[in-house]
Amino acid sequence: MTAALGAIGPRSAAAPKEHSSSSLIRIYLVEAKYELYKLLRLPAFVIPSLGFPMMFYALFGLLLPTKGAGVDIAKYLMATYGAFGVIGIALFSLGVGVASERGQGWLAVKRASPMPVSAYFFGKFAMALCFSGLLVVLLCLMGAIFGHVRMPASQWLMLGLVEMLGGIPFCAAGIAVAYLVGPNSAPAIVNAFYLPSAFLSGLFIPAEMLPSFLRGFAQFLPPYHLARLALTAIGIEPMSKLPIHIGALALFAVLFTTLAVIAFRRDEGKTYG
């Protein structure tokens, strides 16, 4: 009877703490480390997440004529391909990655261990941040060396910071997708959102070059606002619009996080893993 009560009652005072803070930090770091190892060795992840944005930037930002619509294309696309890459890393590592590990039962194996599920998400998140940082640095090097982009140090730093942090709402969107759909449909759903919205948001070619009816549509897409924030950081987008973009991205962040939490909770106790 006491056993039965223990299962449903509040945690008794005598019970050990779930995790001491030092062991929690250790678990978080272990997760992040091996998440990074795992994906660094996976060409199917590295090539699309780092290679594609760099290749597109080289083609459209560096090789084609660098003047258009009155903007420095090399500088402009350096920022927008950064946003493109960061979004892709978030959606694919968290969305497709979690959906697959959940669907294949690997997450259940980890959850049967004392690993807190927060550590699992932290590992994915930390890895996405590392890859995002790496991609932004690589794109900036390409821009500086081959595109002759020159900016004050503060703008380089701001660009890196905006793009890395700007990936967070998309990490939440990834988790929502992973818990709402099965492992087989996750890649299709992510791609169906990712590529069209990246195009419409002006990540491939400057939004100013898109027909006006498409530009109006872009306002409703989260990648658009991340790109505009990145362009604000490097002085292309006027500062006056900063509150709009921050507000819009924050709104999407809240929306995606809520969706992710609802989807995750719905899954708990049902399939769990």
């Binding site: 039965a4 259940a108 049967a112």
Partner: protein, 300 residues
């Protein structure tokens, strides 16, 4: 109280629905400290569901599941168990040693790496990536990961599913080596031979309900029987009325008779038909026994 072995995991009138499908129907089960308990049943019997409930990976629709008398989802309880589950895909780019290091990282005082490698039989392949391993080796890695925390209670969910006999027997040796350390094991399998080889107690489960519970000998005893084959002119109906006969199957000109005891039946057969030939008496195989047990329970 001390005479009762401690219950380390339990299901208390647990029922689990997946939509309209009832995976488990009012199942009560105690896993006692120190025993090797085998949950035996065909595919879809509710074995994996039982394990998932006791591990807190899934919640019962009604009833309760406990681990060490408490909530299976609590880290303090999960530190005391290890679980080898059925997995579709394991990250393939991590090396065996890295997988082990990662899982050891989840526990405050894990087993030393060398012990884990030895218990899993992974010496020599520790620096291979998971994707480079054979099926048997992969399964041993999953077994080793379950041992990283030096668990008091080990869950093995269909550990040898799809293996050939040799690999399976080699794996049994590994499991026995762990069991010899005095630990508790809950093993699910649909091979009676496996349950018989490893378990102290067998709980037979089918269609979400427990149909039998006993030592391997008791379980086998409940279904022990003989199969008598012969070529005879005696009519099927007449044979069915003979002592102990539980079933008759006609295979061409041969007759296959299932009986609880062979000797009185054979005596009668020979007395009734002097021209009877091709007489053969065999014991019923374990797998047949197991199947007949399940059929019997459902017919009852």
């Amino acid at each position: 109280m001390t005479s009762h072995p401690e219950t380390v995991a339990n299901l208390d009138h647990a029922t689990k629905h997946y939509g309209k499908f009832v995976a488990l129907r009012d199942v009560s089960l105690d896993v006692l400290r120190g025993e090797v308990l085998s949950l035996l049943g065909p595919n879809g019997a509710g074995k994996t569901t039982s394990v998932k409930l006791m591990l807190g990976l899934s919640s019962p629709t009604t009833g309760k599941a406990t681990l060490f008398g408490g909530d299976p989802r609590k880290a303090a309880n999960r530190r005391r168990v290890g679980a080898m589950l059925q997995v579709g895909k394991v990250p393939e780019t991590l090396k065996v040693r890295e997988h082990i290091d990662q899982f050891r990282g989840y526990y405050p005082s894990p087993l030393p790496v060398d012990d884990v490698l030895e218990l899993g039989g992974l010496e020599g392949i520790e620096d291979k990536k998971f994707g480079e391993l054979s099926g048997g080796q992969r399964q041993r890695v999953l077994f080793a990961l379950a041992l990283c925390g030096d668990p008091e209670l080990l869950f093995l969910d269909e550990p040898t599913l799809g293996f050939d006999v040799e690999v399976r027997r080699a794996f049994w040796k590994q499991i026995r080596a762990y069991v010899s350390r005095g630990r508790t094991v809950l093993l699910t399998t649909h091979y009676l031979e496996e349950a018989d080889a490893l378990a102290d107690r067998i709980v037979v489960i089918d269609k979400g309900s427990i149909v039998a519970d006993g030592t391997p000998d008791e379980i086998k005893g409940r279904v022990s029987g003989r199969r008598v084959r012969c070529v005879t002119r005696i009519a099927e109906n007449e044979i069915k009325a003979m002592p102990g006969v539980t079933g008759v199957v006609i295979e061409g000109d041969r007759m296959e008779i299932m009986t609880s005891v062979a000797e009185p039946l054979v005596r009668q057969l020979l007395a009734r038909d002097a021209s009877l030939s091709g007489l053969e008496v065999t014991s019923v195989g374990l797998e047949d026994a197991f199947l007949s047990l399940i059929d019997k329970e459902h017919a009852a």
